[in-house]
């Protein structure tokens, strides 16, 4: 019976324990936290299996000891003392019951704690009457995460069965813990995700495949406004103010990145301009989208991430704006337009900002309006023309002091005392002005920022000012330089036009050319005719065209400059004389880029020159004719001599024949002489004719001594008839000269006849002329004609060369003028001086020709 009872008892016990296990498993599984599960375990084990205290131990943070866990169970009254004692205890590895279990990772059973040597809490246990104890590890893997212990008042031997049940329960606890920890982990991950979504700088929007917005993080709300739950994808663009980059066209809803990602597309870097209805400024977002797919690849929806690139875009726009302004400067846009664009660009960079640019006049004392598109007109007008100075508002002071001037409140700042009322009317409160300086440090103007609130510039505004003054400086300086250039060009052009100068540029590579209006007039081109190099060349007279072209090519290649005097043949046969001068511009490799130059119309001058030459020749001719008159005696004598001989010889021959005693040899002689004298007479006639003929100069190498001898002989009869003597003193070593014979004879005749005239009042014995030659230096041949007459005007001997100067009653006063022009045309000089004793000496110096021995005899 007892056995039966024991067996039955055992069976009942087991059954009870099994039901306990079942209950606890269900309860533990239902517990939503490890601590509540632990509490269930401790309580149920005590209630169902006869323990009075159950508590847990957990390793402390650094893992050196076990501390008493917060969850425990105990029965009534004094048992709490044990709990107090436990809470005060800490067990190292192997110490006490918890320490032993911790170390062995195995359950431990103590029949009576009073007998156990390794039980530090034994005193308290004895006082309360605790005897049996059991400890079990709770393992996660092979790590002890907690130790639970139970106590009872009875002393009981170890029940393997009970230990197994409790161990099984503990294992349940471990499972629960694992599960709970996983759940906690998951929830923590969710929290992190949520946190990321809430705190990240990018907007994240997730939609399901129907376009229902599942995720719309706070940044998305900031970008796009509150999540609209009732709108469909086709309304998103309008709902959220989504535009294409042109900022005005609504983004096509079916092309929105989220729509596309829901459709299954990957979307990369799409830029959207967002401007919500009530927002003052729009913003720019760059969007990336990805489709969301289920495990089997089915489409679940889409996700987009939007990044705010407004600042980047604005900087990009700002940079592009700066480039535009710089391009305007480079394209020589009007300064007012450039500065206005610059001001507008700056104003666009900050809310409520108004800017202006003032220019400093060339007088350096007054300002003039530059650009202020958004300042009141009254203000702009009032400032225009104002003087600069140490207390002249922000700009006037900035230009005067060459330093930035920051006025945070124009209503109180002393600099603004003169402009306060104006500023008030115009609603301006703060004005910060910075001088615009050229690279050389000259003040060109000022750039000012105005605000309606009282404050100083923000760092961003200071940066804008720096950029604005820099660009404005470039623009103004360039404009000034171009103005100076234009003025200079205008002056040059004016001077050129009045000087009959034509400007031209040739571009030989392109066969293109440019020519000023005056040039077109000279060359006979219409104003609007497109010019080429060939066209210009075609105007050159055909006789000279090839030579001009060749000279141009050669000069440009060799010297880089070109000069030519030639004729132009214009349509309708008009001829012009021009001088062309050019300079070649070459690149670094020496290729000819262009030739710039001028053409001077010298037709009038040329005409005058030709006229003058004709006149000079006419005068010279008249002079020679008049010389003939002076030399009639000589010519008559010269001619009558051979004629006399001929007549005599003919007469003699006739007489010999009449007398019939003619010797044939004598007759031969007479005839021969007649022929010779005829020729001589012919020579005389030719000589006279050559002197009288209007011949142009033909230079020849001549022996001047021979020319003098012949000329003196020619004039000898007249010299004799005037009871004068001409003697010659000729240097036998005289080099040759290259002269026109007739002209040199003319010079000599003029000088000799002048000398004769000068001595008319002298007794015949004193009437002497000395013609001498010499060549001291060898490169100059000197001829002097000296008389012993009345001499030259004492004060100015060279007066004799003046036109119409004459001491003679019958003289024209042209002789010596002509003599000088002839001598100078031969590259020589003539000097008139008074000779040492008395009389005059005319000295002609002509360039000698060395190394020539051949002499061409005077005719």
């Amino acid at each position: 019976m007892e056995n039966h009872t024991a067996a039955e008892q055992s069976y009942n016990q087991s059954k009870e324990q099994l039901s306990l296990l079942q209950t606890i498993t269900i309860e533990v599984a239902a517990a939503d936290h490890f601590s509540s599960a632990l509490e269930v375990v401790l309580r149920r084990v005590c209630e169902k299996t006869g323990w009075v205290i159950g508590q847990a131990w957990v390793p402390n943070r650094d893992g050196t000891a076990l501390d008493c866990g917060p969850v425990w169970f105990c029965g009534n009254g004094e048992l709490r003392n044990f709990r107090v004692a436990s809470e005060a205890s800490h067990f190292r590895l192997g110490i006490g019951l918890p320490g032993r279990v911790w170390e062995s990772k195995q359950p431990a059973w103590i029949e009576d704690v009073r007998d156990d040597p390794n039980f530090p809490r034994t005193a308290t246990a004895r006082n309360i009457g605790l005897k049996t104890a059991v400890g079990l590890p709770i393992l996660s893997g092979d790590k002890v995460i907690a130790v639970i212990e139970f106590f009872m008042r009875e002393s009981r031997s170890k029940s393997e069965q009970l230990v197994k049940v409790i161990a099984a329960i503990a294992a349940q606890l471990n499972l629960v813990m694992e599960r709970k920890r996983a759940e906690e982990e998951l929830s923590r991950t969710n929290e992190i995700l949520q946190s990321i979504l809430s705190n990240m700088g990018d907007a994240v929007i997730v939609a399901d495949k129907d376009g229902k917005l599942l995720v719309f993080n706070p940044v998305a709300e900031r970008f796009f406004g509150p999540r609209a739950t009732q709108t469909t994808p086709s309304e998103w663009s309008r709902q959220y103010g989504l535009y294409l980059p042109d900022q005005v066209t609504l983004f096509p809803p079916d092309q929105l990145p989220l729509t596309r990602s829901i459709r299954g597309e990957e979307v990369n870097n799409v830029e959207i301009f967002v401007r919500r209805e009530k927002a003052a400024r729009g913003l720019w977002v760059r969007v990336n989208g990805r489709p969301l797919r289920g495990p089997k690849g089915e489409r679940l929806g889409g996700v987009i991430v939007c990044r705010d690139i407004t600042q980047f875009k604005e900087e990009e726009f700002f940079r592009a704006g700066q480039s535009r302004v710089l391009e305007m400067i480079a394209a020589d846009a009007p300064l007012a337009d450039v500065l206005t664009s610059l001001v507008l660009l700056m104003e666009g960079q900050a809310e409520g900002l108004r800017c202006s640019i003032l220019l400093l006049n060339r007088d350096g004392k007054h300002v003039r309006h530059g650009a202020a598109p958004n300042l009141p007109e009254a203000y702009v007008k009032a400032v225009n023309g104002a003087a600069i100075g140490p207390r002249n508002g922000s700009c006037g002071t900035a230009m005067y002091t060459r330093r930035p001037v920051v006025v945070t409140d124009v209503m109180t700042d002393p600099l603004w005392s003169d402009y306060r009322e104006l500023a008030k009317i115009c609603g301006l409160r703060a004005c910060w002005s910075t001088p615009i300086l050229s690279p050389q440090g000259e003040v060109l103007g000022s750039f000012a920022m105005y605000r309606q609130e009282t404050r100083g510039p923000l760092p961003e505004e200071a940066r804008l000012t720096e950029i604005a003054t820099h660009i404005a400086g470039i623009a103004i300086e360039r404009h000034q330089q171009q103005e100076i250039l234009r003025e200079r060009e205008a002056r040059i052009s004016l001077a050129a036009e009045s000087a009959e100068l034509a400007f031209w540029i040739l571009y030989p590579e392109q066969n293109a050319a440019w020519m000023s209006e005056k040039g077109r007039l000279i060359y006979g081109f219409d104003s609007n005719l497109p010019l080429t190099c060939d066209l210009i060349l075609s105007r050159v007279h055909p006789d000279e065209r090839a030579a001009v072209k060749a000279a141009y090519d050669r000069s440009c290649a060799l010297y880089g400059t070109f000069e030519s005097e030639h004729r132009l043949l214009l349509p309708y046969g008009k001829t012009r004389w021009v001088i062309m001068r050019g300079r070649c511009l070459k690149d670094e490799e020496g290729n000819l880029l262009e030739t710039v130059g001028v053409t001077l119309d010298v037709s009038a001058q040329k005409q005058a020159d030709l006229q003058l030459q004709v006149q000079r020749e006419e005068m010279a001719h008249r002079n020679r004719v008049s010389l003939m008159g002076e030399m009639t005696a000589s010519f008559a004598h010269e001619l009558n001599q051979p004629l006399t001989a001929i007549a005599n010889n003919a007469s003699a021959a006739r007489r010999f024949l009449e007398h019939g005693n003619i010797d044939p040899a004598l007759l031969q002689q007479l005839l021969q002489d007649m022929v010779a004298d005829s020729q001589r007479a012919g020579d005389v006639i030719r000589g006279i004719r050559s002197l009288v003929r209007k011949e142009t100069s033909v230079h020849a190498l001549l022996d001047l001594n021979a020319v003098i001898t012949e000329t003196v002989r020619l004039v000898s009869t007249d010299v004799l008839s005037r009871e004068s003597v001409v003697t010659t003193e000729l240097d036998p070593q005289l080099p040759q000269v290259e002269v026109t014979l007739v002209q040199i004879q003319q010079v000599l005749l003029n000088l000799i006849i002048n000398a004769l005239d000068a001595m008319e009042g002298l007794p015949p014995a004193e009437r002497r002329i000395i013609v001498s030659t010499r060549s001291d230096k060898g490169d100059v041949v000197e001829v002097s004609v000296r008389d012993f007459g009345t001499g030259l005007p004492k004060d100015r001997p060279d007066k004799v060369f003046d036109h119409f100067f004459s001491t003679k009653q019958k003289g024209m006063g042209m002789g010596l003028t002509i003599v000088r022009s002839i001598v100078e045309a031969h590259g020589g000089t003539i000097v008139a001086e008074n000779a040492p004793e008395r009389g005059a000496r005319m000295i002609v110096r002509l360039p000698a020709v060395r190394g020539q021995t051949q002499t061409i005899a005077a005719a």
């Binding site: 009639t632 005696a633 008559a636 004598h637 010269e638 001619l639 009558n640 001599q641 051979p642 004629l643 006399t644 001989a645 001929i646 007549a647 005599n648 010889n649 007469s651 003699a652 021959a653 006739r654 007489r655 010999f656 007398h659 004598l666 007479l670 002489d673 010779a676 004298d677 001589r680 000898s716 009869t717 004799l720 008839s721 009871e723």
Partner: protein, 129 residues
């Protein structure tokens, strides 16, 4: 040479122009005159000082000296010499001067040969008287 006077007496010629001198020589020779020609005045004056010169035909315009000077000298050396002046240039002053000294004839070159020869002949005959 019908006239013995003409054959005996020399006619002197003075002209610095050789071809003229030579042609006059031929012209007078063709009429049988005995002729002595001089191209230099000095040579003639020497001759006139040492010889009887009944007639001289002289040029006025010569290189070194004028015929007028020769005439003046001749007047002193041989006052009886008849002088015939020939000149290539019309010059009234020279003519007047010459006539004052006393030539018997004055001819402009070129001259009429008949009149010239007649003049020479007359001069010779007169000198013979």
């Amino acid at each position: 040479m019908s006239n013995p006077i003409e054959a005996e007496k020399e006619v002197c010629l003075l002209d610095d122009d050789l071809s003229v001198l030579k042609s006059m020589h031929y012209l007078l020779a063709s009429e049988g005159f005995k002729v002595r020609a001089f191209s230099k005045a000095a040579d003639f004056l020497v001759h006139a000082s040492t010889h009887d010169v009944p007639v001289v035909v002289t040029d006025i315009w010569m290189d070194q000296v004028t015929g007028l000077e020769v005439l003046a000298r001749l007047c002193a050396i041989s006052p009886k010499t008849r002088v015939i002046v020939i000149t290539a240039r019309e010059d009234l002053a020279a003519r007047a001067t010459a006539m004052a000294i006393g030539p018997v004839a004055f001819f402009m070159k070129p001259f009429d040969d008949e009149k010239f020869i007649a003049a020479v002949r007359d001069a010779l005959n007169q000198s013979a008287k």
